[in-house]
């Protein structure tokens, strides 16, 4: 195995989970997120010489995945009312999870969801997120604050207590 492939393999194994969770947080659908992340990693492998030098390779993968999947998600939303069994696609989201919180996540503006995903699941700092998104750190803070304010309303008191 070449050095590049070994390096990519290590990155892939270590990053699959966090990247997938970040994309799930944005899309609300595990199956679609799985495909989007797989596609993003495939693109990362194609551009590995560039991605490996990226300051936040996982962020590159997540952003690529989200860009690849945006149209699918919108299409899914349109499909849901049309056939009962299609709702099964979302059943994984409702299974043991706070459906209201996830619904709130899905309804956040794209940029706010992106900030949440990068912040929570990739543990990126404000400045790094700002650099990734090409916006000012203060704008990241605003997006984060607005997203948290929205999500807070969906949290049950027990959840807030448990986390506190």
């Amino acid at each position: 195995m070449s050095h590049e492939r070994t390096e990519f393999a290590e990155f892939f194994q270590a990053s699959w989970g966090p990247c997938l969770r970040a994309v799930v947080a944005s899309t609300g659908n595990v199956q679609l997120a799985e495909d989007q992340v797989a596609e993003a990693f495939a693109r990362a492998w194609l551009s590995w010489r560039k991605v490996r030098r990226h300051p936040a390779p996982r962020a590159w993968v997540v952003r690529t995945a989200l860009n690849a999947g945006a149209s699918w998600w919108r299409r899914r939303i349109r499909e849901l009312p049309l056939a009962g069994h299609d709702t099964a696609v979302l059943s994984d989201v409702d299974d043991g999870l706070d459906a209201a919180l996830l619904a709130a996540l899905r309804h956040l503006p794209d940029r706010q969801r992106e900030v949440i995903a990068l912040r929570v699941f990739l543990d990126l700092g404000i400045d790094t997120i700002a650099a990734q998104l090409g916006i000012a750190p203060v704008t990241v803070r605003v997006h984060l604050s607005r997203a948290v304010t929205t999500l807070r309303h969906e949290l049950s008191p027990s959840q807030a207590t448990e986390v506190d």
Binding site: R21, Q31, F41, A42, W72, R75, L82, L97, L144
Partner: protein
Amino acid sequence: MNDNDELNDSAVLSAVRDTISGLPMPAAPRLEAITARGRARHRRRLAGVSGLSVAAAGACAALVVGLTGGGGSARLAPPHGAGPQHEAAPQRSVPGVHLAAFTVAAGPDGTTTLTLNSGQVVDPSAVRQALAAHGIPALVTAGEFCRTAVQPAPGVGSVVVLPGRPLQTLAPGQKPAGPGPIVINGSAIPSGTELSIGYRQDPNDREISFTLIVAGAPLTCTSIPDHGPHPDDGPSGQS
């Protein structure tokens, strides 16, 4: 923003993390699958700049799916004999749908034909509705391939005929064709069963997969068609 706000923000973010982390996440695919997908993408990109030859190849790759309500073949007869196979029986007088991306039309002998054209983005919802109008219960997905834990009898091989493909099944007297119609015996789809049709949305890589699924059962959808045997398959696993 005071300390309490900070704490509350942290609590919210932790709740989000815990909620998502509670999801049963699929394991990472094999590295080979990722790198192969990357190579395929690379090939498509190279092909995309080669102009007319690719366009011609794409035209040849136009996929035609035939859906037959009767089939005229004992081999393709409904497995359970009498009785309607679906609540919505095939409506043979339903007019066809002719769009740039696909066509659904009534064929001879009660058949319905579906053509997915290359070089077009096909809306799965529109395809599903068009098929439903012809009495074909289908789950149509783009970019993912869905199946249920149990793949019901009679098995997709008895329902779908893929001309020119390794898994093709030919009805008696039927001649294999090149990029010709794929035939689906709609009446062989038992009640409570649907046909899952998944395809890649990439107009230049129209991989398509068929399987039978149990209507209403939980779906497992993957980015790559899963043609392998399922643990629940087999006589005891049939429903």
